[in-house]
Structures are given as structure tokens and as C-alpha cells.
Amino acid sequence: MSLFSRQPALNAHRWLGVFLGALLFLVCISGTLVVFNQELERWEQADVPELNTVTPTAAGRALETFIQRYPQATEHYHVVFPGSGIPRLVAENDHQAVFANAQGDLLQTEHFPWSKMLVDLHYYLHLPSTWGLLLVSALGAIICALVVSGFIAHKRIVKDAFKWRRGGTGQPGRIDLHNRFGVWASPFHAMIGITGTYFGLAGIVLTVVAQLDTQGDRQAVVDKVFTPEPTLSHRVQPPDITTALQYFETMQTGHKPIFLTVHDVGTPQQFIEIYAQVPEQLIYSENYRFTSAGEFLGTAGYEDGVWGKKLIYSLYRLHFGDFAGWPVKLLYFVLGIMLTALCVSGMDIWLEKQGRPARVNRLWQGFVWGSISALAITAAVSLYFNVSSYAAFWGLLILGCSVSTLWAKIDKFTWLLICAGSCLLLLICHLVKYGEWALSPASLPVNSLLMLFIMWCGWKAHQENKINAVSH
């Protein structure tokens, strides 16, 4: 039997999908939601005033007031502009972030524990950061391996290109959906796998290359690939970001400032760096560097840099779909749902072929639907109480899995109702907490998606009820 015939490919595909299915599901569902990370952060603090532009004077005033109010030692100050994707002005150091209004007056502290928990789930699966990052990156390569083995295993790609057999026992439809999602969205799956692997792998590549080239000096390798920080020895003075921003405006670059960082705070090497998004390019930003007094030093040269530097600097935006506003985010969200559905349908197909062993089947259902319910309930709780979102999420997920495994009455129909109920609870909690703010542009996109999901769960539960009626 050839290595590229159907059965060996199916064996490889099955092992990868079944053995790592649960981890893949968690990474995919959290990644799909993280596409809307900025929208979720806005939604979690819906009552913060929003603005589309900010003047250099207001930004300078916000940072000045912030430094006076929070004088603790820090290596950086950041000012995040409304062009960052969140139409708010934020001043922050390494410990604290505070919103500001259009005049530069400080407002409430930034606080989005649930969004942070969600991002950490996607980046690290809540494991210790290095190991978590490595595991999640390895899952990127596993997604690539699933694409490869899936294509080799599927011998009727052209014949079945538009096939979808619904109804019947459910299994043919499940297999068709799995194959259609897998084949047509394969460029997205492969791209997500490759770019996802980069985040954990970059550190390993850097370490190996540093050992080979620079006696273990990782910073020296970073400086060779990217642009090194300017070597300065100025008199220490408060950063004049107003002058720097005014100069940036006169440059008329056509680039949208995302945020600004003051590096090496309180040292002679202190300098200001403005990160600005470059239209029509996937690079994260072009960086404009200024002295503490606001004198222009030069750019980091990403926009016109060599292709390797640009490629590495493009991987973040390419992975998260954060480059052309909401239409691309929506495209990534839908394709992310397809990738998540692939994980679930793949495991369902395997379970069906095993004759749906009762406890394993219920455990899987509890894991899939329980994690969605746990995310929703955790979000609702974190809107009101200062509890650990991490503990709440895992506690609820373990509870859901245990109850589902041990209590035979909890089937998919019940889980769909639990999911719809959890999301409805979240929606009500948000409406009660934020009142009319819950219908503001900061909240409406997320609340609308929640409403859509609740309706989908209801419809799906109705379908499931029909299947149950046939079974009985």
C-alpha cells in the first residue's frame, strides 16, 4: 500500500484529529472569537467615551497627567490612539492603563479580564507561557498536517466538490460538511497553521540562530533582522510626545497612528516611537522614531524594507485578520467557525464510526458545548464580580464535562439549550449593567452576534428534537 493511498492517510488524519481534537477545538474556538478581540474589549467596558481622532496636545496632556498620577518605575510608557481599532485614547505604563477623553483628561482604568483570559486561552491554553506557546504553535503544524493528510485521504475531491447529503442517518451529511469545510477553506487553514506556528517557533529559531551566529546573544540576531534601537545619550527629560506627534502630522505619511511607545524611560537612551499602520500592506506598522524632545530620528524601515523583514513583520496581521477593518474580520470569523466546525465534525465522525460509546460521546458533547457555555457564564460573572476568569472558566468546563459524562439525560438537545441560556444570561447581564450603552457602537456588534448565536442554538435544538423524535 502506497504512502499516499487512502488508508494510511486516513490513519494519520484520524490520529491527529482524534488525539489532539480537544486541544485543537479550544485553540480554534478561542481564535475565532479573538478575531474580535478589540470589539470584545470595547464591549467589556462599554461605557468608556469613544473618539475618532485625537490632537497631539490632548495625547501629550493625557500622558503628562498619567505620569504625574502613576510615578512608579517603568521601562515604557504607551499611548494608544483611536486608530488602533478601538476608538479610545489610552495612556499606560508597564503596570497600569487608563482611558482619557478627547481633551486628554484621565478617566477610568482599563479592565477587561474576560477578554484577556480569552486571548491567553488562544495563545497559551492557560499553561505556563513558554510551554503553552510551544504547544499552541505545535498545533499550528498539526493543522497543516491535517490539511495534508485530509487531501491525500479524500480521493473524490472533484467528484464531491459541491456535494452535501443532508438528513438520513446524519453521518453522510456530517462527512460532506467536514470535507467541504476542509477542502474549500484549506488555504485559510494552512495559512492559520503556518502563521500560528510562527508565534512559538520564533523564540526557538532565535535561540538556535543566536547560538550559531552571535554566541547566544538573541538581541544581536533581532537587531540584524529588524531595525536596532537608536543609540542615544541625551539629557534625561520628560518625553515630549506632543512635539513628536505634531511633527508626524506634518510629515503627511498617509499612515494611521496606532500607538506610541516611550522606550527606556528615565535613561539617557529614552526615545519615542510612533507605530503607524501602512495601507495596502500586511506589515504590522511603520515605526517613526523621535528623541525625548520630539526631534525626528528616522523610521524603522519596515515599509520599504527587505522582503524577509516585511514577511516576518506581516505574520501577526495575517494570522488575526487585523488589516482591513470589519469586512476582513468577518471573513476570518466565518472561516474560523469553519475550522472549529472541522474539529467538532471530525471527532463526531470518528465517534459515529465507533458506534457512539455513550460516556465518551457525552464527554465530547460536554466539552464542546460546555466550553461555549463556560465562556459565556464566565463573561457574565466577570462583568459584576472580581473573580478569576481563568478559574471560573476551567471550573465550569470541568463541571460541564463531569455532569455530561455521568448524567445520561444530558444530550445534545439539552446542551444547546444550556448554551442558548448561558448566552442569553450574558446578554441580559450586559444590558442590565450598561443600559443604553449596551446598544452603543461599542457593544452592538458583540450583542448582535450573541443574539444571532442564541437564535442559532434555538434552531439547532429544534432540529435535534426532530432527530430525537425519530430515534424514539
Binding site: L3, P8, A9, N11, A12, W15, L16, F19, A138, A141, I142, C144, A145, V148, S149, I152, V158, A161, F162, K163, W164, R166, G167, G168, T169, R180, A185, P187, F188, A190, M191, G193, I194, T197, Y198, L201, V205, V209, L212, F226, E280, Q281, L282, V306, G308, K309, L311, L318, V328, L331, V334, L335, M338, Q354, G355, P357, V360, K466, V470, S471
Partner: protein, 175 residues
């Protein structure tokens, strides 16, 4: 306007592919490819080549669903019960899977990284280009090596083969 035209062009491409698939006419498939290329060119004029590449590769995944939903067939629901197969949850079987996971996630990572880094550093391109190439190709090589290991009838021999290849590349890397 150019972007909308590109979207229409991509849609027509999918339509053409679907018609070609239904009627088994290859030329319609060729036309679909031409229309997709046309949509990529239009996207290029509207948004630049980097975004154009992304849109052209990702959009068909959504657009084909018009064809798939149109083509869908529905049978009446039917119930059937199969006898659950016993799952092998013995310690030895679990241990075997854990070892396989260690090979796929750990050993193949090291092997693929060694091979990709060596090949990338041989190429006469910029330093950052070498690293970028290594970062982009490594997951793909990792995926193929994992597939080779998992699909092989003699996984130990396959693993030994990967190890030897990586060892040779590793030696060349250090030279």
C-alpha cells in the same frame, strides 16, 4: 468600485466552476480560473497585491456555499443503532499514543527545524530572508514529516530515517 467588480468576478468564477462541475465541462473550470485570476488583478488595483492575494485565496471558501446549498439533497431522517465498539483504554495503548504524540510534537519539530534552518541558510538571500523562509516552510515540512511518520507501516524505521536526515543536515548546519 474596483473592489466590488473583483467580488462580482470572483462570484462569477464560482458560478462558472459550479456549472462546469454539474455539466462535467472542463472549459467552464478553465473559465473559472480565468475569472478568479481576473478578480485577483482587480483586487490588486483596488487594495494592493498583498491584500489581493489573501482575498483571492480565502473568498472562494465562502462563495462556493451558494453552489453547495443549491446542490444539497435532503433525505428523511432515519434512525439506526450500531453496537458501540469497545475503546482500548489499556495503559499500554495510552502509553503508545503518548509516545506517538511525543514524536509528532517534539522529535519531528526538532528534525524539521534542523532541516529547514540548514536549507534556508544555504540560500544566497538576506539574513532576514533566510529566517523568514525557515519560519514559513518549517510548519509545512513538520506537517509532511508527521504525516510520513503516522502513515508509515514501519514508523520506527521512518523515525530513524528522519533522525538520520536531520543529523546530516544538523552537521552541515554546524560546518
Amino acid at each position: 468600485m474596483v473592489v466590488y467588480s473583483a467580488l462580482v468576478c470572483a462570484g462569477l468564477g464560482v458560478g462558472s466552476l459550479y456549472a462546469g462541475w454539474r455539466q462535467s465541462k472542463r472549459w467552464l473550470g478553465g473559465l473559472a480560473l480565468l475569472l478568479w485570476a481576473g478578480s485577483m488583478v482587480l483586487f490588486y488595483y483596488g487594495t494592493g497585491w498583498q491584500y489581493a492575494m489573501v482575498y483571492s485565496l480565502l473568498l472562494p471558501a465562502l462563495l462556493v456555499w451558494i453552489g453547495i446549498i443549491y446542490q444539497a439533497t435532503t433525505k428523511p431522517l432515519q434512525h439506526y443503532i450500531t453496537k458501540p465498539r469497545p475503546l482500548n483504554t489499556s495503559l499500554s495503548n495510552i502509553g503508545k499514543h503518548v509516545v506517538v504524540a511525543g514524536v509528532v510534537l517534539g522529535a519531528e519539530l526538532v528534525f524539521s527545524l534542523t532541516i529547514c534552518l540548514t536549507v534556508a541558510r544555504w540560500l544566497p538571500i538576506t539574513y532576514s530572508g533566510q529566517l523568514a523562509l525557515c519560519i514559513v516552510t518549517q510548519p509545512v515540512v513538520w506537517a509532511f514529516m508527521a504525516y510520513h511518520f503516522l502513515a508509515s507501516k514501519q514508523p520506527v524505521r521512518t523515525l530513524a530515517f528522519h533522525f538520520i536526515v536531520a543529523l546530516i543536515f544538523g552537521a552541515l548546519l554546524l560546518l
